[in-house]
């Protein structure tokens, strides 16, 4: 090894640097059999299905395989009309890249008739300032459906 070079480091600046790093990823999200049934019913039959717990007798939408309160496996499907009541809503007025639409647009928690839980989805087909808690709403399906929750375009007020 050559003798150690002792160079001064005093001339090297210290001002902070900010580096921009982009992390890209592309996950393959598995829906699972339960989710698959729910999504294909929406795609093929424009039908929203709920799943019923044999113990609690509660109907859950969106569905899951196990009851979140008693951890029983659920398999009984319940056909819902799709109509429901708006429990709460919000109008999004800020923009983020992951959003499905240009703001402003509305989200709502919709308690579907025949289900014990609500589902969160987009609210549309109405002047955003006229959305009211408690209004009756129904789903509007997309023409081209591919098997995703966004096959429901939005929920709109009935009448």
């Amino acid at each position: 090894m050559t003798p150690q070079i002792k160079k001064s480091v005093a001339d090297i600046p210290e001002e902070p640097i900010v580096v921009e790093v982009q992390a890209h990823s592309n996950f393959l999200v598995t829906v699972g059999n339960t989710g698959n049934k729910f999504l294909t019913e929406i795609r093929d039959n424009k039908t929203i299905m709920g799943i019923k717990c044999p113990q609690c007798k509660k109907v859950y939408v969106p569905p899951r395989t196990h009851c979140p309160t008693c951890f029983t496996r659920m398999s009984e499907w319940v056909k819902l009309s799709g109509k429901g009541t708006l429990e709460t809503y919000t109008v999004v007025r800020y923009q983020e890249p992951y959003m499905p639409k240009e703001p402003p647009y509305a989200y709502g928690v919709i308690k579907l008739d025949g289900a014990d839980t609500g589902i969160v989805h987009l609210i549309g087909g109405v002047d955003l300032s006229k959305i009211k808690v408690g209004m009756k709403i129904e789903p509007v399906f997309k023409e081209q459906r591919e098997g995703s929750i966004l096959d429901i375009d939005y929920f709109k007020p009935i009448g």
């Binding site: 790093v21 982009q22 992390a23 890209h24 990823s25 592309n26 393959l28 999200v29 598995t30 008693c70």
Partner: protein, 386 residues
């Protein structure tokens, strides 16, 4: 120790596969939880605390526990999520043990999972563990890390590629007897030696696979454990021994805290001759070649001599040294969950419930470890009687 003595009363794991398209991640966890509850003969109502964890970068989530919790029926229960790269499952178990030993809870459920079939796209640009902006400039991965480790090991010990292949064959023989293991390939030394070379001396078969799987354990404090279980597996001690980037592979290719952790834990538990006093070993080896070094670090043999044991055919489920009777991580590797699988397997060995891959004789003590990052380890000691 001033806290409660604790025991594992139930263990569960899914059958590990490379792909699971029939379930989502949460449902995968639920399978493991179902198995653990059935094993412990408890219901979800009995559980009062849940500790969850996965290797997030391969999960697509930031805080996936929020979404998993309802699916495993843990709404209304105490708990939180832990994570630390590869040792995540180890930290999850250690946390569960601490929670149970604290006397705050009666039944603690630890769940870890990884669904690697979803994560195939996770390690693209800027992803995959490379965080400090310059480490991201080299294609660093476990493969390159272990290539370096093994290269260094071979130089120091004098072992050959053939010995590395012997290790892999032993692991495969063990895995063939484990119904939960993923890879069961029927390997021979020739097959391994002719396999595709990733980075010398690491061949594809030497590296751990990507797995979709989940595992769960249920831990109780002493009184409760005696009440609910006929065969509680006592947790003697555990030690989370991390190094938090203190040494990189460039700085020390043998960087590992396992030896240190084992020495410390043996001292605490009064173990003088680990090879005799511990009857079953479940040690996290991300590459089959790592098994050699780990055997030395846990105190089975002198430094850089482990390959001789393989040459003499002394390692295997029914042999003198039952090292990784489950087939180990090279057979099954759902990253964040792998350490929990190690604990599950160690517990099964202690109970004598490992069925086909049960180590013969009484298992009084078993050791399980977790490995992650650049030489971080968690060590667990389980025993049959208090």
């Amino acid at each position: 120790m001033t806290g409660e003595r604790i025991a594992i009363v139930g263990v569960g794991q899914t059958v590990h596969k490379s792909k699971r398209t029939d379930v989502n991640t949460a449902e995968l966890c639920a399978e493991a939880v179902e198995a653990a509850l059935a094993d412990a003969q408890l219901t979800m109502k009995d559980i009062d605390c849940v500790i969850l964890g996965s290797f997030e970068p391969a999960d697509g989530y930031s805080g996936p526990d929020k979404w998993i919790v309802p699916e495993i029926g843990a709404v209304g229960k105490a708990g939180f999520e832990m994570q630390n790269v590869g040792t995540t499952g180890g930290v999850v178990c250690a946390t569960g043990f601490n929670m149970a030993a604290s006397g705050l809870f009666e039944n603690v459920l630890c769940v870890a999972w990884q669904k690697m079939d979803e994560a195939a796209g996770a390690f693209g640009r800027g992803g995959g563990g490379a965080n400090e902006y310059w480490t991201g400039q080299f294609p660093m991965s476990p493969i390159t890390n272990f290539a370096r480790r093994t290269y260094d090991y071979m130089t120091r010990s004098g072992c050959t590629e053939e010995h590395l292949a012997m290790v892999r064959v032993k692991q495969d023989q063990c895995a063939q007897r484990n119904k939960y293991a993923q890879l069961k390939l029927g390997l021979t030394v020739e097959k391994v030696m002719n396999d595709f070379l990733l980075a010398w001396p690491i061949r594809r078969l030497h590296m751990c696979p990507t797995t979709a799987g989940s595992a769960a354990i249920i831990v109780c404090p002493e009184q409760r454990a005696k009440k609910v279980s006929k065969k509680p597996v006592w947790v003697e001690d555990w030690f989370t021994c991390h190094q938090g980037g203190a040494l990189t592979m460039a700085e020390d290719p043998q960087a590992s805290t396992l030896g240190y952790a084992c020495k410390k834990i043996y001292k605490r538990c009064g173990i003088i001759n680990p090879k005799k006093e511990i009857q079953a070993w479940e040690v996290y080896e991300p590459a089959s070649t790592a098994e050699l070094r780990w055997m030395e670090e846990v105190g089975i043999c002198e430094d850089y001599t482990a390959w001789k044991l393989f040459e003499q055919g002394r390692v295997g489920t029914d042999k003198e040294i039952p090292f990784n009777p489950s087939g180990g991580v090279t057979a099954t590797n759902p990253i964040g969950c792998t350490p929990v699988v190690r604990v599950v397997e160690a517990a099964l060995q202690v109970r004598g419930d490992a069925e086909e891959h049960q180590v013969p004789g009484t298992i009084n003590r078993a050791l399980a470890t977790a490995y992650g990052g650049q030489g971080e380890n968690v060590v667990f000691l389980l025993k049959k009687t208090l």
